[in-house]
Structures are given as structure tokens and as C-alpha cells.
């Protein structure tokens, strides 16, 4: 694989956002993933979301682990610093980076291989820390980059391309996130851009850890009959429980919803999220009920999608640490070093 830059040509009639940028300005290099890979659709949805939210490209920090999904940060927002780290350990890099500079927009891209086996520990703890970031898990049930082994999210009974049958129970990332106290949990599908883009926008605007599990089929290793993460299977079995609409600050709300079925959530930056129940009594703010409800749907073999759980308290890792507002990297050295007089004074404690 080599570095393939895309020409930066701009169509004169392309729409611009508040920064005067088109979606092309939020692209990166050419994808070298397989044609039809779900991850490329997720990348496109992310680009759309960044553009719509008027994200300043260089104020984004994009992080990933190792895997096909982890390659994607190069494919979006070329003007942002990126960090392709080591397998399963992106969350710790993100936590440390966020600790140093809480003012950037952090996006972590990972996969089911990266997050649910080697990375399971770091995945759980970054949720507990409530690091302010968007974490996108591109979920295809296999290790694509190493040629098709089952991942920990593969369902029992699914067949690999070679015909091997998976016998171990799957880890459902959304359920794990919910149990650990994640304050934003969503699931979507790479093939449903209409659902995915508002969810990503809400995740980007959420203060705290925002987790989005995206079924993102692997056309090469897991898109055959017998796979529960294929395009075909997902389209049939996905079950949207709640419809999400995200209204950035500068846009007007154009859609009307009936009372009772809709709930508007104000994000901490003033933008609005509206949630419309599709499924009866679904309450995306009652964690225990959500866990129970999702369990019942999944037992039927369906895949619940939408913004499953939301807790918009405005808290994150820094609220708990009581860190100064603004980046630690900007605190001047004079404020950090106590000086020679203090050193002489404190040594009086040393006998």
C-alpha cells in the first residue's frame, strides 16, 4: 500500500459550510480498502458530519489502533494530526492526549478486533474515565487485515469464509458500554448514512465518551451467506428503536414531530438533538431499561440500532480531575514551577 494523495480540485458549485469549506476539504488520502468495504461508508459519513458541524480541520485529533478500520483516519481530514498507534491501545493514547489538551475534538476509530480482544481492557477503562471523545467501532466480526479470523463480536454459528463455524459467544460492544456506564451509546450500520450521520454529529457534540458501534461489513471475509455481519443479513435484521436527528447551532429545526413521541435534548454547546421513539415505550435515558430492552431484541436475532442511550450531564474526565479550563499544554511554565524560595522552604520538612 502506498500513499495516494487525492487531487484537491474544487467544483465551483460545491456547497460550503460556515468556514467556507466544502466536503472535499474534509477528505484525506485515497482509501486502499477493498471495493465495497463498509469502512469507506463510515468514513464518508464522518466527513459529512465534520462538514455539517463546521469542524475546524486542524482542531481535530484522529486516533486509531491497528486493523483495517484503523487505517481510515488517513482517509479523512488531511489537515488534522493523526495517530495510528498499536493494536488495542488507542484509548490510552486518547486519554493522555485529552489530559494534555482538552480543547481539541477527539475521534478514535477502532474495530472489533482492536477493541474487543486485545483492546478490551483499555476499551472498558476509557469508558469509565468518560474521556471526552467520539469512539467509532467499525464492526465486521472478523480480523480483516490478517485475513479473516473470527473476532470477539462474531455470533455463534456464523461461518468463516473457509467454512469454519464460530462456537464462542460474542461480545456485544454496545451492551458492554452500557453496563460500564457509558454516557452515550449508539449503534448504526455503514449502509444507512441517513441514520449514521446524525448519530455521529450527536457523538461529536456530546461531552463525555460517545460510543458508536457501526456494523460495517467486510466484503472480502465476512459478507457471505452464514455471516450475521453481512450487508444482506444486517439490512434484514436491523431494528431501529429510536430515530435521531441532530440540529447544529446554526441550523433551524425544520422537522415537526408529534408530542410524546419526540424528545429534544440540548447539548452542552447549545445544539439540539431530537429523539423520536419508534419502538413503543423505549426510553433512551433509562440505562437499566435500555439494557433489558436491547437484550430482548437481540435474543430475537435482531440488531437494535439508533442512539440507544444518552446521558447529557456535561461531565467528562476533566470535571472529575478538576483540571483548569483550557489546555494544560498552554499553562505557562512560570505557573508550574514553584521556584527556588519554595524549594528552600519545603526542604525544612526534610529534617
Amino acid at each position: 500500500m502506498s500513499y495516494i494523495a487525492k487531487p484537491v480540485a474544487r467544483h465551483p458549485k460545491q456547497p460550503v459550510n460556515a468556514l467556507g469549506l466544502t466536503t472535499r476539504d474534509y477528505e484525506g488520502t485515497m482509501s486502499t480498502l477493498c471495493a465495497g468495504c463498509g469502512h469507506d461508508s463510515v468514513t464518508a459519513a464522518l466527513i459529512q458530519a465534520f462538514w455539517e458541524l463546521d469542524v475546524e480541520p486542524h482542531r481535530l485529533a484522529k486516533l486509531s489502533g491497528i486493523g483495517c478500520s484503523s487505517k481510515t483516519p488517513t482517509y479523512f481530514v488531511r489537515d488534522a494530526h493523526g495517530f495510528n498507534s498499536v493494536h488495542g491501545r488507542m484509548p490510552s493514547i486518547a486519554a493522555g492526549a485529552n489530559a494534555a489538551n482538552q480543547d481539541l475534538l477527539y475521534v478514535g476509530i477502532s474495530g472489533d478486533g482492536d477493541s474487543l480482544s486485545i483492546g478490551l481492557g483499555q476499551f472498558c477503562h476509557v469508558i469509565r474515565r468518560n474521556v471526552n471523545m467520539l469512539y467509532v467501532l467499525e464492526n465486521n466480526g472478523v480480523y480483516g487485515l490478517t485475513k479473516g479470523q473470527f473476532s470477539a463480536s462474531a455470533d455463534v454459528g456464523t461461518k468463516s469464509k473457509q467454512g469454519e463455524v464460530n462456537k464462542q459467544g460474542p461480545i456485544d460492544a454496545a451492551s458492554v458500554a452500557l453496563t460500564l456506564g457509558a454516557t452515550f451509546v449508539a449503534r448504526s450500520f455503514s449502509g444507512d448514512k441517513e441514520q449514521l450521520v446524525p448519530i455521529l454529529e450527536a457523538g461529536l457534540r456530546h461531552k463525555g465518551f460517545a460510543f458508536v458501534d457501526v456494523i460495517s461489513p467486510c466484503v472480502t471475509f465476512n459478507d457471505h451467506v452464514g455471516s450475521t455481519k453481512s450487508y444482506a443479513h444486517t439490512r434484514v435484521h436491523m431494528h431501529e428503536v429510536i430515530e435521531t436527528d441532530f440540529v447544529p447551532l446554526r441550523s433551524e429545526i425544520t422537522t415537526k414531530y408529534e408530542d410524546g413521541a419526540t424528545r429534544a435534548v440540548r447539548m452542552h454547546d447549545g445544539s439540539t438533538l431530537t429523539l423520536r421513539k419508534i419502538d413503543g415505550e423505549y426510553d433512551p435515558t433509562d440505562r437499566v431499561a435500555v439494557i433489558d430492552y436491547l437484550g430482548r431484541i437481540m435474543k430475537r436475532g435482531e440488531i437494535p440500532t439508533g442512539l440507544l442511550y444518552l446521558e447529557e450531564s456535561g461531565q467528562d474526565m476533566h470535571s472529575v480531575s478538576n483540571t483548569v479550563d483550557g489546555p494544560l499544554v498552554d499553562v505557562p511554565y512560570e505557573a508550574l514551577c514553584p521556584g527556588s524560595a519554595a524549594l528552600a522552604e519545603l526542604q525544612k520538612d526534610w529534617w
Partner: protein, 609 residues
């Protein structure tokens, strides 16, 4: 000065044997502090089990008017407060020495030695008679032996009183109990034994302008003064107290007065791998970040260390070494991580490593580590050990130059990026083998992809041979060039050109110094070089090649320092002999002298410990 028996006024060692979790630490601290305040150089070593409560623990105090701080294994007095370890404790007393014990319960006759003097004080009984409540009786028993020692060792009572006043100024009832316990112990000793013993104290003036502190506390202070804002860690003996100290100092000095909010962020990670990742993430962002750990932690962090090396991200690691391999002996010391820290991670890697010998260097090298890590954009280790990190050492008061400014290395600002046509991360613009780096969020032109996978000098992913080689070759030269910037070796030369030399590192220093003085008194001159940084610079090679034979003294089994010297300098193999001790205790001069006696020619074979 020592007399023929190897001990005397201001020259002896004693050991207190107690049970951990009973308040003995305070009593021992009181003792050490009193001696220090009498102006006599002292060192204290805590020998504790890998346990929380109920097992034997020892506190060793060495009194040395000459200022020798290395461990002395010859205990002239043992305060035996733990029946569980009586047999072992009594066995360790030097012939002609003394055992102070609680005679409330009769001592088993089997334990008695004819060549040792047994001093029984009915401590428990006296505590029952004078104090109410089981907790206070346990605590005062320890203070009472301190009182007995005041008489036996001629410790200045006024100094002790002054210390009690300082400590308990707000709690008069505690001060009274403590003072009563001291008085009772002292009076009993004076009435029943010939006080003072031949091993005793005499006030001096050798501790003026000095302080006593542990290496971990000093290192934490160094991190504070260096401007570190992010600390990530996972608790592990013996490095935990480093982060505890950093936390306390931050709470004291790093709260923004206007807002009451913190100018720091300390994260207790879920494991050492995560701690390393957090340091790297924070450093990538432009913060000074560090993690304190021990050998097992460095093993775990190896993958991330390699990433930081290849992606050229500054990062600071403290390895407070303990006995390995594997879990090893968590509460014993060793120097078994030298090769690990020098070369951590798979592939071709090499790191900057600093080796402090005492808390003063822990402080100074901590600051230097951040400067070096950021200047050379590479992982930098400060490697001490349990003995330095957790025990109290006498050092000259620390100084700070207010003119110090952190060396942030080659970082392009927004203004500089504005003027640049295109930024490439790994190009050697200035010929110093170091590229310029940019921080996220500063300017769009600074954007690049940090990756541990193959990359060319433009920062682009590559699978091309020449492009890959070009970058790793530059990194090799870059880290090599740090050899001229790490702390230079400390060299001690005898007046005339000595044929033999000693080379050592870190905490071995004190035993080597003492052994060398012993040899000098016998007319045997050896030069001595203490390596303080890696990569080695040319002064290291010069020392090795300018001596007929060099003895490398270190506290590990596999001669790691000797091997590093052979790998990294042109010194021939035959020239470097080895003296090792790795049993977990701090090094004593005897280890050095015995090692030399085995290997040096007959003319100097008389040297014994």
C-alpha cells in the same frame, strides 16, 4: 573513628527488628532524625516484607562520622522487638556486640550467645504499668526502646525533646506519653546497664546544610520543577511513593489560585501498558508527561516504548528497580533492568538512560530527563532502585536556578508554520539528526500522521527499503548524539596513574567509594568511574582503555553493565572483569573488596572486608 574492633564513637551500625504495622516506622524515624540533628551523618534502610501487616520487618541504621552511606552488614547492636525473628536477629549480631530485647518474657536459653551481651528491658510490662489501652501500649513500647537507646548510645536528650515538641505541638497528651516512654526507657537503661556503650554518638557538625530524603520523593520534586503536567501510573512496589509524592506536591503547588482548579492531571491507569500510552499521548500533544514504574512495568510497556522510539515522541519513564526476574522479590533491590531500559522493545531500538546514585541526582536527573526526551524526541529513562528510592539518604540541600527554562526541543509554532511551504516531520533540516515536530491543534500546515508502521522522512506510510532505512539510520545517529548531552561519568582518580580501575553505576556508588578508601589506606590505588548516562560518550571509552584492567561492579547476575560497555565501546573483552552481587540487599564494601581479592594479583590479596 573506628578502632581495631571496627566500631567506635560515631562509627557503628545497628538494626531494629519489629513487626510491620505496629508503629515501629515512627520510632525508627525518630531515631534517625535525632542522630541527624546531632550533626552525625546517618543512613537508614527499611527492610520490609512483601506484605501489609504482621510479618517481620527491620530498620537498619548506620552511623558514620566519615560520611559512609553504604549498607554495613556488621550490626553491633540489634534491638530485637519481634520474638518471631529472634533467632535470626541474634545470629546477625557481630561478635562482642549487644542485643536489646524485651525481657518481660524470658528469652529462650537456646538463643543465647556467649560472645554477645544481652540487655533486657521489661518494655511490655512497663507499658502496661504506665499506659492505658492496648493500642497506646503497642506504640509506646517502640518509643520506650528509643528511650533505652538514648542512654545506651548517648543520644542527645535535648534533641529528642525538641523533636517531640515539634511533632506533637498540637497534641499535648501524645507528647506527654511519648516523653514518659522515653524517660522510662532511659532510666531503666541507666540503672541496669553501663551507659553509654562503646558504640555511641558524639555531636558533630557534619549535617549542616544537608537534608534527609528518599530518592522517590526527590524524583517527584524534579518532575514538578521540570513542569510535568501529566502523570500516568499503575501502582507497583517500589515506585508507588514517587507518584504519591508528585500528587502531594501538585496539591500543594499546582492549584491555580484564581480558580482553585488543577494545573495537572494524574491518571491511575488500568495497567502499565495504558500508563505508557497515556504518557505518549500527552507528550504527543505537547505536555511533559511521565510514568514511574519498576522492572515488570517496563516489560509490559515495551511495545509502546518501541512506538515512541520509532515515531520519535518524547516520553519519560522512571524505573525504580527491584529484584527480578518476573515478580522476583518486590521489596528487595537489584540493578537487573540495565539492558532492558537501554534497548526496550523489539527491532533495533536504543534509549537514553540516566542512572542516579542518590536522591540529589534523582531530582536533577528527573529534570534533565524531560529536557533530553524533548530535545531528542525519544524515550528517556531514569533508572534508580529500591534502596535509593525508598530509603532515607543524607544529601546537600537541593538548589534551584530560577533562570532555568525547559528545553522543549525543536517544535514549530503557529507563526513558524505560517511561513513554511510544506511541513515534513522526519526531515533532517539542520544536520543534527533531529526533525522538527508540530503539536496537534496549532496550525493546519503542521498536520501529519504519527505511526509506528514504516514511514519515510516525509512522514508518509512506506514499504520502500531505501526510504525506511534512511529514517532508521537517522534515528540511530540522533540517539547516539545524546551521549554527549547525558550526565557525564563521575571520575575519581588517585594521585598517580593507577593500573586498575573500578567502574560502577547507580546505588553501587557508596560501597565502591568506601571500598576504594579502604584500599587507599592499604596503599592500593584504584581509579573509579561511575557511569551516569547512556548512550556512553567518549569519556567512558577513554577511562576503560587507559587502565590495564577494569572491574565492573554491579548488582545483577548477568553482568549487564559490563556487557553494555562491551557492546557500546571499543574496549576489548579481556580488559573488563566483573564483580557482581545480586542477593537483594544493598551493596556493601565487602562485596567489592571480596570480589577484588578474588581477581587481583597477590600483592593486594590481603584486602578483606
Amino acid at each position: 573513628m573506628a578502632d581495631d574492633r571496627g566500631y567506635g564513637v560515631n562509627d557503628f551500625a545497628f538494626k531494629v527488628a519489629t513487626v510491620n504495622g505496629t508503629g515501629s516506622a515512627s520510632a525508627n524515624g525518630l531515631l534517625l532524625q535525632a542522630l541527624f540533628r546531632m550533626g552525625v551523618p546517618v543512613s537508614g534502610k527499611n527492610v520490609f516484607p512483601s506484605n501489609i501487616q504482621g510479618l517481620p520487618t527491620w530498620y537498619e541504621i548506620r552511623v558514620s562520622g566519615d560520611g559512609y552511606a553504604a549498607r554495613s552488614p556488621d550490626f553491633h547492636l540489634v534491638v530485637a522487638m519481634n520474638p518471631q525473628s529472634y533467632a535470626r536477629d541474634i545470629e546477625e549480631v557481630a561478635s562482642g556486640g549487644w542485643v536489646l530485647y524485651d525481657s518481660t518474657k524470658k528469652l529462650d536459653e537456646q538463643l543465647l550467645r556467649e560472645d554477645v551481651n544481652f540487655l533486657g528491658v521489661p518494655l511490655a510490662r512497663m507499658c502496661v504499668d504506665h499506659f492505658d489501652g492496648s493500642r497506646i501500649r503497642i506504640l509506646m513500647k517502640n518509643i520506650m526502646y528509643v528511650g533505652a537507646l538514648v542512654a545506651l548510645l548517648d543520644i542527645d536528650l535535648d534533641v529528642v525533646k525538641q523533636m517531640l515538641e515539634e511533632k506533637f505541638s498540637a497534641k499535648k497528651h501524645l507528647m506527654d506519653s511519648n516523653y514518659t516512654a522515653i524517660r522510662l526507657g532511659r532510666e531503666y537503661a541507666e540503672e541496669h546497664f553501663e551507659c553509654p556503650l562503646p558504640i555511641r554518638l558524639e555531636s558533630m557538625d557534619e549535617t549542616k546544610d544537608c537534608v534527609m530524603v528518599t530518592g522517590n520523593v526527590a524524583a517527584a520534586l524534579g518532575c514538578l520543577y521540570a513542569g510535568a503536567t501529566v502523570g500516568a501510573w499503575y501502582p507497583i512496589t517500589p515506585s508507588t511513593s514517587l507518584m504519591d509524592a508528585f500528587t502531594e506536591y501538585c496539591e500543594r503547588f499546582r492549584v491555580a489560585p484564581e480558580t482553585g482548579k488543577n494545573n495537572y492531571c494524574i491518571i491511575q491507569a488500568e495497567d502499565e501498558l495504558a500508563a505508557a500510552g497515556m504518557v505518549i499521548g500527552a507528550s504527543w500533544m505537547g505536555a511533559r508527561a511521565f510514568t514511574p514504574t519498576s522492572g515488570p512495568g517496563v516489560s509490559l510497556m515495551s511495545e509502546f516504548i518501541g512506538l515512541a522510539y520509532y515515531a520519535e515522541i518524547p516520553s519519560v519513564f522512571f524505573d525504580v528497580q527491584r529484584t527480578g526476574p518476573s515478580t522476583g522479590m518486590p521489596t528487595r533491590t537489584q540493578q537487573g533492568d540495565l539492558m532492558l531500559c537501554a534497548y526496550a522493545s523489539h527491532g533495533d531500538t536504543k534509549h537514553i538512560v540516566l542512572f542516579p546514585a542518590d536522591p540529589k541526582e534523582c531530582f536533577e536527573f528527573a529534570v534533565a530527563a524531560f529536557d533530553l526526551a524533548e530535545r531528542f524526541q525519544t524515550p528517556t529513562f531514569v533508572v534508580s532502585d529500591l534502596d535509593i528510592g525508598m530509603n532515607d539518604w543524607m544529601i546537600p540541600k537541593l538548589q534551584w536556578d530560577d533562570a532555568y527554562r525547559p528545553d522543549r526541543g525543536k517544535v514549530l509554532s503557529a507563526e513558524e508554520l505560517e511561513g513554511v511551504e510544506k511541513f515534513y516531520r522526519y526531515v533532517d533540516v539542520d544536520g543534527d539528526h533531529i526533525g522538527y515536530r508540530t503539536l496537534p491543534g496549532v496550525h493546519p500546515k503542521g498536520a501529519y500522521f504519527t505511526r509506528g508502521s514504516g514511514h519515510d522522512k516525509y512522514g508518509r506510510y512506506t514499504e520502500g527499503s531505501a526510504e525506511y532505512v534512511e529514517v532508521v539510520d537517522r534515528i540511530l545517529k540522533k540517539v547516539e548524539s545524546a551521549g554527549d548531552h547525558v550526565p557525564a561519568p563521575e571520575i575519581h582518580r588517585s594521585g598517580k596513574a593507577a593500573a586498575y580501575g573500578l567502574v560502577s553505576i547507580g546505588g553501587c556508588h557508596w560501597a565502591v567509594l568506601e571500598a576504594r578508601d579502604d584500599l587507599a589506606r592499604r596503599g592500593i590505588d584504584v581509579d573509579y568511574m561511575r557511569v551516569r548516562g547512556f548512550p556512553f560518550n567518549s569519556t567512558v571509552t577513554d577511562f576503560l582503555t587507559s587502565h590495564e584492567k577494569v572491574f565492573v561492579v554491579e548488582q545483577n547476575r548477568d553482568e549487564q553493565l559490563r556487557k553494555l560497555l562491551l557492546l557500546e565501546t571499543s574496549c576489548p573483552k579481556e580488559k573488563l572483569a566483573s564483580i557482581t552481587y545480586y542477593g537483594g540487599q544493598p551493596l556493601s564494601k565487602g562485596h567489592v573488596l571480596d570480589g577484588l581479592a578474588e581477581q587481583m594479583p597477590l600483592t593486594v590479596a590481603e584486602v578483606t572486608s
